[in-house]
Amino acid sequence: MTDETTDYAIKLDIFEGPLDLLLYLIKKNEIDIYNIPVALITEQYLQYLKIIKSLNLDLAGEYLVMASTLIHIKSKMLLPVPDEPSDEESEEDPRAELVKQLLEYQTFKEAATALSGRPLLERDVFARSAPIDDKVEKSTEDEDELIEVNVFELIEAFHRLVSRIDKKELLEIDLEKMSLTDIINDVMERLTREKNLTFEELLGERIDRRRIIYTFLAVLELIKMKMVKAYQTSAFGVIRIFPAVES
């Protein structure tokens, strides 16, 4: 048993998750993946989990979910199957879903192996890495240069800043706020162009509920930020919105 334990222990850190562990057990037992003896596999699977626990290693939750799935399938398999298929669709094999999942995972596991088997840059093949011809100065007219940066780098940069200064308020950014910002920008752009607009004009043709609320919030926000001013000529009159400062 000790031998087996070491064997298990060695194997543990190479599993990529419960599906990987199951595939390993299937292969080890030379089992047909389309006809898995659930009782046997469940037993071996649980044995592995026991060993992980006995080694005082934390177990990812996914392994426990799979354990309960296996037990569930096992219990379903024990139920007597009606001799005659009923008129309704014949009962599906309780293992079907799991088999499908295993096959799909196996496919991608193999795809991953195939990918890493390709001639990889910086592993098998190398490109020129020296800066070329220092004599060739970069042309200065970078009017329309392409900027290569992705959104992930952007949010990374922001995240870096936030963690540096640890201002909680900075964290209060969510989708709602960002949509509002779009509308704020839109409102300011139009105000700069048109000099002044009524609320109705600001809404334009797009008068769905969400749009009205957001535009209203945007105007309130802009007033608060002292970026626009709202004027009313008489009580209940039309409200006109002006940029706070002429540009």
Binding site: E16, L19, Q101, T107, T113, L115, L121, V125
Partner: protein, 192 residues
Amino acid sequence: MENFKAIIEALILASEAPLALEKICVILENVEKAEVKKAIEQLIVEYNERQSGICLVEVAGGFQFRTRSELSPWVKKLKGTKSASLSPAALETLAIVAYRQPIVKAEIEDIRGVDVSAPLRGLLDKKLVRIVGRKDVPGKPIIYGTTKKFLEVFNLKDLSELPTLRELKEISEQKEPESVTEPELIEEYSDT
């Protein structure tokens, strides 16, 4: 400009990234695209015939000089051992993104059966995977796809050059899994 083949050679060497045929045409201005293409093909053959240590390859939508893969032991000796290998978790995640893109995190996790936050983050850091947009469903989950760098690193002309998953099944002497739905390959997701 009779010898535009030499110009093309110089441009490909000077370019930081694989150089696209279209870009070469823009620079050469008065040469037909077909002629440029022919010249590149000639160059590829010449480098191969010369048994040179360098070869010209088509990768990530462009052309680039690369060292011949048989010589990697020597080049590695030069470069030191900083082999940037990906963990199995990262590779599996990358394979799923590559074949199933555009894809959201939950879908990757469905296939792998585990949380993929860490490998996904690693792939983003390495710029092999990028954020493509958001899915228009409740929660607006982030959609991921592969990058041009992915093609560069894995020596692929474009995504259609990915080995098909069916081929893989044949290799793996599986009993024919007729019932399994063939995941189709989404072709155009290379980045700008």
